[in-house]
């Protein structure tokens, strides 16, 4: 956090302006009420107040690095008592020394100076407390603002992710092209048309009804991916080939719903849509107690100069993984020749430790 006095020119002039005002009041009292000569009134006001003005600036660092919460309130008070004592000693000591040297011939003033020390210590303590309170107020205000900001950012992200999830769940072009295929199959192969209507319905039902904040099983998600690929296979025929190699232990693993679907949609979009050759999509899955490792591979035509994706799909998944698992780097991609790879690591949320406690 920046020192509140030195945020900008305005804050600097407010702080020093206040001290000049205090100096003015101090001077007026000494000159008009106590009837000291002008040079004594000026010097007294200048020396005492400018030193305290400096101490006031350093007080910030004490406040900043000793902020009270429920546990350390005692420590904070001790810190301040120590710093207050040092400040008062330095302040009165230095001021007294300077002024007594400057006006060593004025016995009257020297006596006053000595006698005024208890009063000065009292007023110094009051100033100290006021300033410390102002600093703490500033710190809390700043923290509060920061908290509001980061909370609203998180909410925004969640909403964005949710919205994008909704969008990716029902890609209109996929839907319309599939409906067109069904329209065609009603003529050439009504039996198959019916099958496809059912697959498409199941796919849509899964997409619409899955709550993105609740986990589903890997086998549920895979069943949906298979429906999706089978629908696309009706459109593209032999051009699209897919195979799955899944470890038995993966099946009951908990994963976020609709997490894998956008990855396969990407594979279709950049592989099948842009290629004239056969495109293979494969998926491997292995799991142990800690994590599940998923690998998705698809062929693509490197000469296609495909329309660049916005990268939004992958970024959304990254962001979603980060929010759900509080970990980075769970999704990696790589290109080797004409093959595109996605590697996904999903931590186990049914950790074995929990079972051992039971």
């Amino acid at each position: 956090m920046v020192h509140p006095v030195f945020i900008d020119k305005k804050s600097v002039s407010v702080y020093f302006g206040l001290w000049i005002l205090i100096m003015g009041v101090h001077f007026s009292i000494y000159y008009f009420a106590y009837l000291f000569p002008i040079e004594i009134s000026l010097a007294d006001s200048l020396v005492f107040n400018s030193i305290f003005c400096g101490i006031g600036i350093t007080l910030w660092y004490v406040a900043r690095y000793s902020t009270p919460d429920q546990k350390n309130i005692g420590n904070v008070i001790l810190n301040h008592l120590a710093f207050l004592t040092i400040s008062l000693v330095v302040w009165t000591g230095a001021s007294y020394t300077i002024l007594s040297v400057l006006f060593q011939d004025d016995k009257n003033y020297l006596t006053f100076l000595l006698n005024s020390i208890p009063n000065r210590i009292f007023s110094g303590s009051v100033f100290y407390v006021l300033l410390a309170l102002a600093y703490y107020f500033y710190i809390y205000y700043q923290n509060f603002q920061e908290k509001i900001k980061s909370e609203s950012r998180l909410r925004e992200l969640l909403k964005e992710t949710e919205l994008n999830m909704l969008k990716s769940q029902i890609n209109p072009h996929f839907l319309f092209n599939s409906l067109n295929s069904i329209s065609s199959l009603t003529i050439t192969n009504p039996e198959k048309a019916r099958e496809m209507v059912i697959k498409l319905s199941d796919f849509l039902r899964y997409s619409v009804s899955s709550n993105i904040n609740q986990f589903t099983t890997f086998s549920n998600e895979i069943a949906n991916i298979k429906r999706y690929l089978e629908i696309e296979k009706v459109r593209f025929g032999d051009k699209l080939q897919f195979s799955f190699n899944l470890d038995e232990r993966c099946q009951n693993y908990k994963i976020p719903p609709m997490l894998l679907q956008p990855l396969f949609e990407n594979a279709i979009k950049h592989g099948v849509y842009e290629s004239t050759e056969q495109v293979n999509i494969t998926m491997d899955c292995n799991s142990d107690d800690c994590c599940m490792e998923i690998k998705i591979r698809n062929d693509f035509d490197p000469n296609a100069h495909a329309r660049k994706g916005t990268g939004l799909g992958l970024n959304n998944i990254r962001e979603r993984l980060r929010l759900l698992y509080h970990a980075k780097q769970l999704l990696k991609t790589s290109v080797e020749g004409n093959k595109f790879f996605v590697y996904l690591t999903l931590p186990n949320i049914d950790k074995p430790e929990k079972k051992s406690i039971q």
Binding site: P172, H173, F176, N177, L179, N180, S181, I182, S183, S184, L185, I187, T188, V234, R235, F236, G237, Y273, E274, S275, T276, D301, A304, H305, R307, K308
Partner: protein, 249 residues
């Protein structure tokens, strides 16, 4: 008279629907089916059909890019699930734009439109004007440009273009290792390329900001834009102003 027709769509079921609907038209003969843009283009050039049913999203070359490359295009009916290309299709004088899936009635309507035009040299009169307005509000910028030389069609990603130069009725696209001539105007590219990347610095030049190395003062209100490959281009006063604005100088 038989109307020779081609089907170009990368999905078999989509071609099947068209074939089925066309059975009712005795004078329409399907002379070929193709499933990607390149082979479709080649077939149109070789077979010179009267009518083509064309999908937009296809591998290698989209239907729109294909149409752009034809000097004497046949009658074109687009059939696609994407509605955002309708305007461009009409701009290119397509007869109709069928949104998948479509009804038989809708299909018959557009075939009859085509039949009325076969053999006549009339440009289809589409509702282009209204559509042009909607394009201005919602532009989708070009990401690649299809060009053809004598024997070969290639697709140039716009990111690879260093700069464009006016050449009469054509525009020369300069990439790091080649030059391609495209039958379009500078104005067209000024509108259809992302203005934050492609800047019209002169009547004759559009430059890709990505490849600008530095800008030097030339003489009297003219500036030279030097590209990363050393090419020097002149910028006019207004071009320099635009350049400063886009590059935040």
């Amino acid at each position: 008279m038989s109307i020779r027709t081609l089907l170009i769509d990368d999905e078999q079921p989509a071609r099947d629907v068209i074939k089925h609907y066309l059975k009712d038209f005795e004078n329409i003969t399907i002379i070929g089916e193709y499933s990607d843009g390149f082979s479709g283009l080649k077939a149109i050039q070789e077979l010179k059909p009267d009518l083509v049913f064309l999908d937009v999203q296809m591998p290698r070359l989209t239907g729109l890019e294909l149409l752009e490359l034809l000097e004497h295009p046949p009658l074109i009916i687009f059939s696609t699930a994407y509605d955002q290309y309708a305007l461009k299709a009409f701009e290119m004088n397509a007869i109709d734009y069928l949104l998948k899936p479509y009804s038989k009635e809708r299909f018959v309507q557009s075939v009859q439109k085509a039949l009325a035009m076969v053999g006549k040299d009339i440009k289809p009169n589409a509702q282009v004007e209204n559509l042009v307005k909607s394009l201005d509000e919602n532009p989708e910028y070009l990401q690649r440009i299809a060009v053809k030389s004598r024997h070969k069609v290639s697709v140039v990603p716009v990111d690879d273009i260093f700069f464009m130069e006016a050449e009469g009725d054509y525009v020369m696209l300069h990439t790091s290792d080649a030059k391609h001539l495209k039958e379009k105007t500078m104005k067209y590219f000024e509108i259809h390329l992302d203005p934050s990347q492609f800047i019209r610095i002169h009547r004759s030049f559009i430059v890709n900001a990505k490849f600008i190395d530095r800008i030097e003062y030339y003489d009297k209100e003219t500036y030279a834009v030097i590209l990363k490959n050393g090419t020097k281009l002149r910028a006019s006063t207004s071009g320099y102003k635009l350049l400063k604005q886009v590059l935040n100088m």
